[in-house]
Symmetry: C2
Subunit: 157 residues, 2 copies
DNA sequence: TCTTTTTCGTCAACCTGTTGACATTCGACG
DNA sequence: CGTCGAATGTCAACAGGTTGACGAAAAAGA
């Protein structure tokens, strides 16, 4: 849209100064960061990276439904994306001999190589990004956030 | 997708246990909560609510470009949504006498009424959601998050 | 004034998500 | 064995996001 770097909305800006807004802004910035890094060095988006990373970290090749649950999206969303990954040579599909309806997903060697390369880079870059940030203890922050999630989930809405 | 409430991915689940993942999970839950509430009582999504709330909170009717910046999305994204809001009777467009290209956006009385009703409800519900959460001090958490954002922005990547 | 650049909105093409309907397959059970 | 319900993947229609190209209007400059 703009040739210049887009000005991000800031905390306390036109969106207000609520915890929810602040969380959105922070998540946006982190996503942008990861996305830019992966796009520049490996030519894939963060969402694509996550897709193959989750498959790779599962103990056995998931089917469409299980991967959808892992990613927190619908079956249809995964179903539609698979052909693109296959074309890109990142994902292989295979049949479950025990169930003709199931489509099993696994990553290709190419994707495995990409993960092996990109994972440490991504981790190191995030560390760089945060290492001179002393004020709030990030581990404590992380624990607090998880506590909030547990609290919300426990109320079972 | 499922008739049953969907199982949300949990912290430390298949997505890993990183701060970024935890933030995503928390934001998802909050969005779901706000969205469900607004949808049930007022028949609009959170994203629609936000669209008119931002217009309403600006000192004067924004044009498409400025609203896009406020919302953190592209001009095209706003441009495409406007007709829907006009049809729904929530937004009015007007011409800028000083510039024939500009399209000024303002909310209708109906939208103003909706905001006046929904804003307190939404706020109260969030308070209810959090009031028995003593462990982490939410205000302190909010300040920490804003500090992290300021830190990231200051590095100017 | 005439030309050039910038701004502004829109369009087309694409990506990614949703829901609801659907056919197919599996599995359980009379 | 036949039948019915649940599981599975796909499809269509929609919502909302992106980028890049474009025309028209405004602004800037020679």
């Amino acid at each position: 849209m703009s040739p210049e770097p887009k000005a991000l909305p800031e905390p306390g800006g036109p969106l207000g100064d609520h915890l929810t807004v602040t969380l959105h802004l922070l998540v946006d910035r982190m996503d942008r960061f990861a996305d830019g890094l992966l796009q520049a060095r490996y030519g894939i988006s963060f969402s694509q990276f996550q897709f193959i990373a989750v498959i790779a970290n599962l103990p056995s090749p998931p089917d469409i439904t299980f991967l959808a649950d892992c990613l927190g999206v619908s079956k249809a969303a995964v179903s539609k994306r698979v052909p693109g990954f296959v074309e890109a040579g990142l994902v292989q599909t295979s049949a479950d001999p025990a169930n003709a309806r199931r489509v099993l997903l696994s990553i290709t060697p190419k994707a495995g190589q990409l993960l092996a390369e990109a994972l440490p880079v991504l981790g190191a870059s995030f560390s760089d990004e945060f290492d001179d940030l002393a004020s709030p203890d990030l581990d404590a922050l992380h624990e607090d956030l998880k506590a909030v999630i547990r609290h919300l989930d426990s109320k079972e809405h």
